[in-house]
Each structure stands twice: as structure tokens, then as C-alpha cells.
């Protein structure tokens, strides 16, 4: 009935070419965890499917000499969750990966597929914003690089244009001794987030915050970061009062909706507490080193 041609190119260039030719009816498919579910529900009915499974470079994980990590778009959530090389501040991405859905889905789903779908309640978006990730996108004109903060445009929308595919996620080195933490509230294990907080935090020897990036998920069309709020803590000791001030400022930028996971009102109430918890966890994790 549903007719879709299936392609399995061996290179990114070929994938982009087929997708470009396919126009609006074309879809790249990586792990399938999201796209096939939507196809089964008849929410999308592609004419052309372009499998990314045979493209070797998309499966790679590597670290550049400057400490930048490159996670190929086809890396499975399981691989990212157990990636021992994601330590310190970059660990926020591994911690988020470990909380996606459940083990069999983590065996299938990929980082590229997940962020391309851009469910605002998904785990990667706030983690990538907190990690200051850059998304590598391939298109007919070659590769381009988009910061995570500009990648998620809101409610299932991303910076990826038709004919383009996400090829990798790049994580810059976090400051020395930085810690990454991901705090998620969900109804049952494996659910999308009611609300989530990702942060990367570093302190100096005096306990002063030298680095902070914090993003909230599940409270609007995309991950929310507020540099103005972060500035209330950076350069100071992260006291409960300062963290509360940060949260109070950040909450102003949230735009949650009521849905079957919970009310907007609750999300606004809960986020400051999740932020406080995330700080507490991150600071606890730092303790042995301090």
C-alpha cells in the first residue's frame, strides 16, 4: 500500500543527493525509534527513505587533540550512555543518554535521529545546550556547523533544512574539573521529561563558580537557557540564595504548556527545585576533588 523507495547509501554525499532529489517526500532514517513509530501511526508517510546505517563515518566517536569530542550521528544512545570518554562537563550528555527511554530503545535510537526530531521533552536537547555542543549538518553545499542553542528552533523544529542531515554532534572541552549533571522528572521510568535540567558547572579552588551553562527541557518548544540568570551565579559561591535567584530569573523565560504529563503551572513550580537539586548533585560530585 504505502509505497516508499528505500535507499542505503554508503556516503554522506550520496545520502544528501538522494534526499535532495526526493524533495519533501524524502526522510533520512537512522535508528528508527522515532520515525518508524510515526510511520506506523501514519503521522508521516515518506515517499523516499534514506537509510544512514551504511555510512561508516556517522558511527564514529572520537576526540580531537584540543579535547573536542565528535559523536557521529548514528551513535546509539546505549553507546553514548556508556562512553567512558565522556567525563567531566561532557558527561552531561552521557547522563542524558542513559535516561532516554529504556534499554532496547537505547540500542536502536541515535543521537542524530533524536535531535533531528527535536521533541522538546527529549533528553538530549538541554544536555547539548548545557554542553555547548555544535551540530554538524551536511547538505548539498557541504558541511555547516550550528550551535545547539540555535539548532533547536522550537516544537519539533530544527535548523536542518530539507535535503540536509545531521552528521555529528561536537562537544567542546569543558573547563578542567567541570561536572555535568542531568536531572529529570518523569512520570514513570523511560518517559519523556515532565521537566529536566542539564548543567555544566566548574568552580575554582575558592569555591567560586568559574563556568556555568544550564538548560531546561520540557518547558516550552525547545531547551531554555538564560545567560542572564547564569550570570547571577557565575563569579560567586553558589549559595542557595543565588541559585534561587538564578532559577527565578530563568523561569521567566519558560513557556510550558499543559499536557498529559503535567500542567504548565506545576512545571513552573518544579523547575527551580530541579535546578537546586541539579546544583546539589553536581556539587556533591565535585566534593572528592575539592
Amino acid at each position: 500500500m504505502m509505497a516508499a523507495t528505500f535507499h542505503k547509501p554508503a556516503t554522506v554525499d550520496d545520502a544528501v543527493r538522494v534526499l535532495t532529489d526526493a524533495g519533501e517526500g524524502g526522510r533520512p532514517i537512522s535508528g528508527g525509534a522515532t520515525l518508524v513509530a510515526m510511520m506506523n501511526a501514519k503521522l508521516v508517510e515518506p515517499d523516499v527513505l534514506v537509510s544512514l546505517s551504511a555510512i561508516a563515518e556517522l558511527k564514529d566517536f572520537g576526540r580531537a587533540p584540543d579535547g573536542t569530542v565528535r559523536i557521529g550521528a548514528m551513535r546509539r544512545h546505549r553507546e553514548t550512555a556508556f562512553e567512558s570518554d565522556l567525563a567531566g562537563g561532557q558527561a552531561v550528555v552521557a547522563k542524558a543518554a542513559s535516561q532516554i527511554a529504556n534499554p532496547p530503545v537505547r540500542n536502536m535510537g541515535t543521537i542524530g535521529g533524536s535531535i533531528s526530531f527535536a521533541d522538546p521533552a527529549a533528553d538530549y536537547p538541554p544536555a547539548l545546550v548545557a554542553a555547548d555542543a555544535t551540530i554538524e549538518i551536511a547538505g548539498p553545499d557541504g558541511r555547516r556547523f550550528v550551535p545547539a542553542e540555535e539548532f533547536f528552533l522550537g516544537w519539533y523544529e530544527t535548523a536542518v533544512e530539507p535535503g540536509e542531515i545531521v552528521t555529528a554532534v561536537l562537544l567542546p572541552p569543558a573547563p578542567d574539573r567541570a561536572v555535568g549533571h542531568y536531572e529529570k522528572l518523569c512520570r514513570v521510568a523511560g518517559d519523556f521529561a515532565l521537566a529536566s535540567v542539564a548543567l555544566v558547572l566548574a568552580l575554582d579552588g575558592a569555591g567560586t563558580v568559574t563556568h556555568l551553562r544550564l538548560a531546561v527541557g520540557g518547558c516550552g518548544g525547545g531547551p531554555v537557557r538564560c545567560p542572564e540568570a547564569e550570570a547571577l551565579v557565575v563569579g560567586a559561591v553558589p549559595s542557595a540564595e543565588r541559585i534561587a535567584a538564578l532559577a527565578e530569573r530563568l523561569v521567566e523565560d519558560l513557556d510550558p504548556v499543559d499536557d498529559s504529563r503535567g500542567s504548565a503551572e506545576y512545571r513552573l513550580q518544579i523547575v527551580p527545585r530541579l535546578i537546586a537539586k541539579a546544583f546539589e548533585e553536581a556539587l556533591t560530585e565535585m566534593e572528592p576533588a575539592r
Binding site: T5, F6, G32, V36, A37, N40, N107
Partner: protein
């Protein structure tokens, strides 16, 4: 309405099978409708319930979220292929003895994830087992007996 199919060769339970698949056909549909391996169940078709879980290249995955056309050269193991006919694996045996099976609709998927766990972690603790089974919904058992049966299979009934 044209149906575009392509031939895909997949090893299913040890035997190579060449299948004519439409681009959007899932592995679950192929297993159930073409190969008549109905052990994997369709509970939600969205990857949540876990009743369709099979091993693909040795890892438990959702057959309902897997496009058959993408599986050329892959190895698939279903619940029918775990043990020779008339025999049970240790974890199947343990689930049977402990009466951990109720309606049975989730059982195939549970068996696959439990089998995979014991392959990778021969002596798991309760938390490991709970985590490994957490993507498979069971509405009958309350899970405790399933967890105990997996632990028991690991310890050979010594626990």
C-alpha cells in the same frame, strides 16, 4: 498504488531468508505475516510496550520500529529461535517453574531481554535485572516474579 519492494537477505534464527520488502514494512510485520513467526507480538506498534522485542545482531531491539529493508545482512533471533524445539533455555525454564508467566503476551519480549542480560552479565543483581526489563511492560505480574526468575536462572536455582 504501486508497491515497490526490494529483496533483503536476513538470517532469522540461523537460516538465511530472502524477503521482498516494501520500504516501510517493519521487521515485526515480516516476522508475523511472511515468516509466520508469531512469537513477537504487536502491543502498541510504537516501541513502548516491548512485546515485539527480538535480537538484532545480538542486541534486543523493537521489531516494530525496525524497517525490514534496512536489515540486509543482519542476524535476527526471535523467541522461537532461542532453544531447540522441545527445549527451554535456562531463563525460560526458570520463568516456567516460578510461575512468572501469566497471560504470556509480554513473555516473548521479556524472554529476549532476559536472555540478552544473562549473556552479558551472568550474575546480575536485582537492580540490574529491573533495569534490563524496564522497557518491557507487563500488566499481569507486577514484575517481581519475573525479576526473581531471572535471578534464579543466573544462579542456577541456588538463590
Amino acid at each position: 498504488m504501486t508497491t515497490k519492494t526490494q529483496d533483503v537477505t536476513v538470517t532469522v534464527n540461523g537460516a538465511a531468508r530472502t524477503l521482498a520488502c516494501a520500504g516501510t514494512t517493519t521487521l515485526l510485520t515480516v516476522l508475523r505475516d511472511d515468516l509466520l513467526l508469531t512469537g513477537a507480538k504487536r502491543g502498541c506498534n510504537q516501541g513502548v510496550c516491548g512485546a515485539c522485542t527480538v535480537l538484532i545482531d545480538g542486541r534486543p531491539m523493537r521489531s516494530c520500529l525496525t524497517l525490514a529493508a534496512n536489515l540486509d545482512g543482519a542476524e535476527v533471533t526471535t523467541v522461537e529461535g532461542l532453544a531447540p524445539r522441545g527445549e527451554l533455555t535456562r531463563v525460560q525454564e526458570s520463568l516456567l517453574k516460578q510461575n512468572a508467566v501469566q497471560c504470556g503476551f509480554c513473555t516473548s519480549g521479556m524472554v529476549m531481554v532476559a536472555h540478552d542480560l544473562l549473556q552479558r552479565s551472568p550474575d546480575p543483581d536485582v537492580e540490574e535485572v529491573r533495569d534490563a526489563l524496564s522497557g518491557n511492560l507487563c500488566r499481569c505480574s507486577g514484575y517481581r516474579a519475573l525479576v526473581d526468575a531471572v535471578i534464579d536462572a543466573a544462579t542456577g536455582g541456588a538463590a
